[in-house]
């Protein structure tokens, strides 16, 4: 006898089926939304997206693929992927594709190699490709993300071209500089030889005239000959000083730790003649050691100290003060003026700090209106008959200090005295020029 189903039971069954239907409909909607989201994402990707199956058939492309390759979606779907590969690489590509399907891993395709793709019109363009295997119901699929890198490649080529250009320009400029240097050296060399020879003749024959025929000449003639000699000798000094100055520009600065106190002592010793028969009080404060070229820095001290002694010659008691201070570097204060105060340790530390050395005297001084002329070659602020000199000394000081990365300046008042300052960068921490 057949089992009969009660209406209640039937109703229950129907309700249950309704529920399941509703649930399925809901899931379907979910799926559709999800797929729509996926399509939206895929379509809006800035890279061409091509999905192929194991036989190499294209199963999915996005809008960017159509744009980049110039094919419509219909022209691509179900066609072989090699359609998008340059003709010359198609055979090889098919082999590589099959190998990839055998051992699929997500990776950049042909990393480090230049890859090209082919448009519908047959033109080829450089691409970058990322490969991602996808396990799908219908089997293994591979998603390729393809980016047209034409512009980037062009930009890279442009950068490479500019770099090569720049290197060439550096080479050219270096060659020019070297040529100019050689020329300068040849010039100094011939000045050194050829300019001195006639001076020697002028001085020599004047001297012979004075020695051998001086008694036969009127006093006036003798005094004129003395003028000739004095001037030829002066020009000899000028030539020598100028050559020394030009040599400074070419000379290497060999930095090492320099004990400034000892250097100053040596210089004062060398300048003893300038102090002979005079009352000179030299006050040497504590002098910090620095990093620099000892031979060049000695020249700086010699010139500054010799100036201080020279321009105090008329004083009954000449006073020369030598000192050094650790000060904040030029970047520490907004003002940027060379005049600076000793400042607190923090400021010094922040700016790296520099060492400031000074030579002060109570000599004739000079008018600050002409201060900027002070360090020029052959610039003199005093009459030649009052104070001898060629006007190269402070130019030498400035050149040496600049070549050390420092600054130099002066403060003075006529009849009261002058103070010369120079700074040297404090070099610490980098291990260079440190005591051993």
């Amino acid at each position: 006898m057949a089992t009969t189903t009660s209406p209640d039971e039937l109703q229950h069954e129907i309700d249950s089926l309704h529920d399941r239907l509703a649930k399925l409909q809901h899931e379907l909607a979910e799926c559709r939304r999800s797929e729509a989201k996926f399509r939206l994402a895929a379509e809006s990707l800035p890279a061409a997206m091509v999905v192929v199956n194991e036989t190499g058939q294209i199963v999915l492309v996005n809008a960017e693929t159509e744009r980049v390759f110039g094919y419509s979606r219909a022209e691509l779907l179900d066609h072989n992927l090699e359609l998008l590969v340059p003709v010359s690489s198609r055979d090889k590509h098919a082999g590589l594709r099959e190998a990839f399907f055998a051992r699929p891993t997500a990776r950049a395709m042909g990393a480090g190699r230049h890859l090209f793709a082919r448009r519908k019109d047959g033109s080829e363009f450089p691409v970058e490709i990322g490969l991602t295997p996808i396990d799908a119901e219908e089997g293994l699929l591979v998603l390729s993300a393809i980016v047209d890198i034409t512009e980037r490649t062009a930009a890279e080529a442009e950068i490479a071209r500019l770099n090569a250009n720049l290197e060439q320009r550096v080479l050219d400029r270096t060659a020019q500089l070297e040529a100019a240097n050689r020329e300068l050296e040849a010039f100094s060399y011939s000045v050194s030889h050829d300019l001195r020879a006639p001076l020697r003749a002028i001085d020599g024959f004047s001297r012979i005239l004075l020695n051998d025929y001086g008694t036969a000449m009127p006093i006036e003639a003798v005094s004129y000959l003395e003028e000739v000699r004095a001037n030829s000798q002066r020009m000899g000094h000028l030539v020598d000083d100028l050559l020394a100055f030009s040599r400074l520009g070419r000379q290497q600065v060999k930095k090492e730790r320099v004990a400034m106190a000892g250097l100053v002592r040596h210089c004062l010793e060398e300048l003893r003649d300038q102090q002979a028969g005079r009352c000179v009080e030299v006050l040497v404060g504590e002098l910090s050691p620095c990093s620099g070229d000892p031979a060049l820095l000695k020249q700086v001290w010699l010139n500054l100290l010799s100036n201080a002694l020279k321009f105090t010659a008329h004083r009954k008691l000449a006073i020369v003060e030598i000192a050094s201070h650790l000060v904040a570097g030029p970047g520490a204060e907004k003002s940027g003026v060379p005049k600076q105060k000793e400042c607190d340790e923090n400021l010094v530390e922040r700016s790296g700090g520099e060492l400031r050395y000074s030579v002060k005297d109570n000599g004739v001084g000079f008018d600050m209106r002409y201060a900027q002329k002070l360090f020029g070659v052959f610039q003199r602020l005093h009459r030649a008959e009052d104070y001898e000199g060629t006007g190269v000394g402070l130019a030498v000081v400035q050149r040496i200090v600049y070549r050390h990365g420092g600054r130099v300046w002066a403060e003075a008042e006529p009849g009261v005295g002058a103070a010369f300052y120079f700074t040297l960068p404090r070099e610490g921490g980098d291990g260079e020029s440190r005591p051993g």
């Binding site: 001195r196 020879a197 001076l199 020697r200 003749a201 020599g204 000899g236």
Partner: protein, 153 residues
Amino acid sequence: MNHDQVEILLVEDNPSDIKLALHAFRANNLANQVHVVRDGAEALEFLFCTDRYASRSMADGPKVILLDLKLPFVDGIEVLRRIKADPRTQAIPVVMMTSSKEDRDIVESYQLGVNSYIIKPVDFDRFTEAVQQLGYYWLLLNQLPALATSCAG
């Protein structure tokens, strides 16, 4: 001049410098024994008794050579090199006399074995003094080994 008596060989191309040097030698009673050559090529002929000086004997080599650095034909550095490279002449003292204060000349000269190097001063008194000292040191004080060699020809 009788070449046999040469004690000082002056190699100098500048006529003013020659006159000044001779004047300085005269002042020091050294002028009679000075022989002047005007370029590097002539200096080498004189020293090695060839060409213009083929009749000279190597045994009568000068006691001292005053050599200018910048010379026509063969420069002073090359003359110095040849003198110091030849056993017949390498014992003769060579004093470089030059206007140059360039370090590279001084360094190169000493590397080649120059005996002394003086920079001709602009001041004539100092020049005379330098010549006097040179004559005194190299001609009177300096003891040279006897030259045993002579020209083959």
